[in-house]
Structure formats: C-alpha cells, structure tokens
C-alpha cells in the first residue's frame, strides 16, 4: 500500500518536473539556448497569483498565464533575438542576466520574504481511494500534465507550426531554407514555454501556499537536469527526464535512512553525475545536434 502511495507521489512530482523540463527543452531544441530565466517565468506566474489573490479563480489563472507568456515573448525579443547568432555560451550567460534582473526587480517591488497566497486550498484535501489517502492536488497535477502533453503531441504531429518547429529543432538552417520563419517559430516556442511555466507556478503556489522571488530557482535547476538526462534537444526526452527525476527524488525521500533524508537533493544530484558518466548524451539525444549558421 505504501508503495502505491509513493508511486503516486513520484508520478505527480515527476509530472511537474516534466512540465518544467519541457519548457527548457523546447527552447533548447529550437535555439540551442538553455534558458535559466525560465525559473523567473514560473516565479512571475506565482506573483501574479499573489497580486490578484481574492479575485475570481479564472481571472487569477488567466492573468498568470498571460503574464508568464508575455514575459517569455518579451525576453526573447529583448535579450535573445539579437544574440541568435551568438555562441550557446553567450546565450546561456544572457539568460542568467535576465534571470537575475527579473529576480531583483521582484525583490525590489515585493521584498525578500516569502508571502502567503491562498490559491486552490481545496486541492490540499486528500481523498480516500481504497484505503489510500491521496491529496487532490496530486491527482489534478497528473491529469493536467497528461492533458497538456497530449495537446503538445497533437500540436507537434498535426499542426503546420508544430511540424515546422520539429523541423527547426532538427536543423535550424535547413528549416529556414524550407520556408520556416525563424522569428515566428522561436516566438511560438517561447510562448509555449511561458504557458508551461505558469502551470508549474500553479502547482508550486498551491503546494506551498506561498511565493518568493527565488521560487523558480530550484525548479529550473531540476528542469535543466531533467532535460539533460532525457537528452538535450529531444522534446520527448525532456518529459521522460522530468518523470525520472521525480520518481528518483520521491524514492530517495521514502527509502533513504531517516538521518540522510534532509540531504535528499545531494543524492539526487550525485546520481545525476553518475548518470552522466554512463550516458553523457542523455537517454534520447537528438540526432541533429549540428550548429546552425
């Protein structure tokens, strides 16, 4: 019974990590940018919920979706578009700059202390399923993630833009020769990453009941690790990596000796390092990892 309980914990945490990793992986696949400012998209979603606390639920959700998406498009336009021909290292440093800039703007405006938000507190209740006590939040998280992933798969398989994004992820230069509009595809990828980030923020805020200017930082690190495990450049790999990291984290939490549990994350990252010795390219490394013009 306890195993089943842990499994549901693991899958729901893995689902959140997978959503965050998808946001990172999607941008990397079209642009070779590891966007560490993705964490700030999550954080800004959280602060939108905080600012609008007390408004109707739908207003809070739509506003957070909008804020994260607009911020994602804005950072692409201001910080990354002009650097598109720069090396991945330059892009990476630029994303750190964007990340710190946004963190410190929020720090100036709201202060450094975590602030409480009542967002979907009813999801904190647990329901009884054949003797299992399962928090509603976990079930909702798993369901929302599955729906989103199905939607993303359908988008990539069936839509014109989805096909062009996959083509761009394979080989950006060649995609442009096949009529793919670079700006449009990249902006689309950022918009999707913004939506994914705000949904991760819903989970974090509902789970912890609070927001802080650093709330995106650890999530983006986990997301980065997940997408590396899955294979940078592979969108399916990012999702797979997220689930794996979630499952490993929850397993360690459950089965490590009690004294060591506070150091769970150290073990997670240790395993990550060992994993890289085994599969430095990740599980589903993308074939076409050529550089673009």
């Amino acid at each position: 019974m306890i195993v089943l309980q842990n499994l549901i914990d693991a899958v729901s945490l893995g689902a959140v990590y997978a959503l965050a990793a998808l946001g990172i992986g999607l941008i990397f696949s079209v642009m070779r940018l590891i966007n560490f400012a993705h964490g700030e998209l999550i954080m800004v979603g959280g602060f939108t919920l905080y600012t609008l606390a007390g408004q109707p639920l739908l207003v809070m959700i739509l506003a957070a979706l909008l804020t994260s998406t607009v911020l994602a498009l804005g950072m692409e336009r201001v910080a990354f578009r002009t650097l598109r021909k720069a090396s991945p290292a330059t892009l990476l440093i630029s994303s750190f700059a964007v990340s710190y800039l946004i963190q410190h703007i929020v720090l100036l405006a709201f202060g450094s202390r975590a602030m409480g938000v009542a967002f979907l507190p009813e999801l904190g209740t647990a329901i009884d399923l054949g003797g299992l006590r399962i928090p509603l939040l976990q079930l909702v998280t798993i369901a929302v993630t599955l729906v989103l992933m199905a939607g993303l798969v359908a988008f990539f398989r069936l839509s014109e833009t989805g096909l062009q994004m996959r083509a761009a992820a394979e080989d950006f230069t060649m995609a442009r020769l096949v009529g793919v509009k670079a700006n449009r595809v990249i902006a689309f990828a950022f918009a999707i990453s913004g939506v994914l980030a705000s949904i991760v923020s819903f989970y974090l805020v509902a789970q912890t009941g609070s927001v802080s200017y650093k709330m995106g930082v650890s999530m983006v690190l986990i997301a980065f690790v997940s997408s590396v495990i899955g294979g940078m450049g592979s969108i399916a790999g990012a999702a797979l990596g997220g689930f794996l990291v979630g499952i490993v984290s929850v397993s360690l939490q459950a089965y490590l000796p009690v004294d060591l549990r506070p150091y769970r994350d150290a073990f997670v990252f240790l395993l990550f390092v060992l994993f890289l010795f085994w599969r430095p390219d990740g599980l589903l490394a993308s074939r076409a990892d050529r550089d673009r013009v």
Binding site: E160, M174, A175, S286, A288
Partner: protein, 256 residues
C-alpha cells in the same frame, strides 16, 4: 498562414532568376568579384569551379543567407536583395541543401509535408501532395520511416521530394550527388531532368562529378577566384582550352 500561390501574369513573362554584377566582400576579402548569372525556366545550368571559386557564396547570395556588397539579384524582374530566406523559398526559389539532407528525425512523409507547408498549404493538402510525390519517386514504402534510418540514396531522394513539394520555379542543387554510387547518380539525373520538364523549373546544378554535369546541363558557367571564367553551351565549355587548363586539368575527364 495561407499564402496566395504566385499567379503567372506579369512575372511569368520575364521569369528568369538573374544575378547582375554581384560583388561580395568578407571583411575586406573579396569572395565574389562582379559575377552575373541568368537561370531561365526549364533549363539546367551547371555551375562549376575549383574550391574557393565562390560557388557556395553565390548560392548563399541567391538564398538570402549572404548579403551582397554590390549588384542585384532579381526573380522574375523583381529585386529580391532584401528578402529573407523563407520569403524566397515561398516564392519558388528553393535550395536543396548541400547533399540534399532531409530532417533525420522526421518521417519521410513529414519531410515532404514540410515542403508543402512551406508554400502555405494546410496539413491535409500538404499530406495528400506528399503522398503523391513520394509514390511518384518510388518512395511510398518509406513514407512512415524516419528519414535518418533510410538507405543513403533514398534519404537523398526524400530531400529532393521535399524540394519538389515546394513547387520550385528555380531549384538550386548544391552537390546533390556527393556520396552517391553510379546507379544512384543515374537515378538522380533522371529525377532532375523530370523536375526540369514537368515543373518547367530552372535548375542551378553545382557538382564536382564532371561527367554528370556534362550529361545533364544545357549550359555551364565556370567560376574561378570569384569571377566568371567561361559561360556557354555544354559542348563549348567542354572543349574550351581555357577551362580545361584552369579547372579540368589537361587530362581527360574522369568518368562518374
């Protein structure tokens, strides 16, 4: 995302691809020095020259990846110097990438669909068109396999099928035969002739295998050190002593 297909009319009358007096400088180095080129619909123009002659730079000029320092590039009489790569390809100026590679992780069908989507078809139309083109090229069996898992020759043909799906008016083929065996070379020649006739498309054919260039091309332009060394019908170029000396070497041309 729908794009109106180009209606013939005005630009069908003067429908050539013309490069006029183009100069390209790379940070003080002159890569192309006053080259002019005309590609007419329905003709195959061979572009040859030793490495560093400026062939790839010229293709990059045509596709919009390289800005010109001087001179103009016109498509059907319209100056396209300021057009982005995707705008050029949507208006029928299509390049098969060096060695005509398809997207390895997409299926053969999806690759060809991407060509149709590029000219503004919706997915259903693009798919129907892709199915038709693949079966015409004898690739129906490969439609749902990832392009990267196909045998080399078939992978190339998927790349060409993708170019055909873009309904090119002018097709720029950059070393399409690199790495192909003799039988695949012959298949490629048949396909290129077919494209040229059925789409009345002008083909700019860059290739190192001289036997193939001589068999396939109507006219040949020879570049050397960023200038046009010679231009004329294939037989004349083949016999031109200047060309033989500068590029082919005095020896007999090696077979394909």
């Amino acid at each position: 995302m729908m794009i109106q297909p180009d209606s013939g009319g005005a630009d069908a009358s003067a429908a050539s691809l013309e490069v006029d007096g183009v100069v390209v400088d790379f940070q003080g180095l002159r890569a192309i020095e006053d080259v002019s080129l005309t590609l007419r619909p329905g003709e195959i123009l061979g572009l040859i020259g030793p490495n560093g002659a400026g062939k790839t730079t010229l293709i990059n000029v045509l596709t919009g990846f390289q800005a010109v320092t001087q001179g103009s590039v016109r498509l059907g009489g319209v100056d396209i110097a300021g057009w982005k790569p995707h705008e050029r390809s949507r208006r029928g100026l299509v390049r098969t990438f060096q060695s005509v590679l398809p997207f390895a992780g997409l299926t053969a069908l999806e690759n060809v669909e991407a060509g149709g989507v590029a000219i503004g078809l919706v997915r259903g139309e693009a798919r129907a068109e892709a199915v038709r083109i693949l079966s015409e090229m004898g690739l129906a069996h490969a439609a749902n396999r990832k392009a990267g898992t196909l045998p080399f020759g078939e992978e190339r043909r998927v790349g060409i099928a993708r170019a055909i799906a873009m309904r090119p008016r002018f097709l720029l083929m950059d070393e399409p035969a690199a790495g192909l065996n003799d039988a695949e070379c012959r298949d490629l020649q048949t396909i290129v002739r077919g494209i040229c006739v059925s789409l009345s498309c002008g083909v700019l054919f860059i290739e190192h295998r001289m036997s193939m260039v001589f068999e396939l091309c109507h006219r040949i332009q020879v570049l050397q050190l960023g200038r046009t060394l010679a231009l004329g019908p294939t037989d004349a170029i083949r016999a031109d002593p200047k060309v033989r000396k500068a590029y082919l070497g005095e020896d007999e041309v090696s077979p394909c």
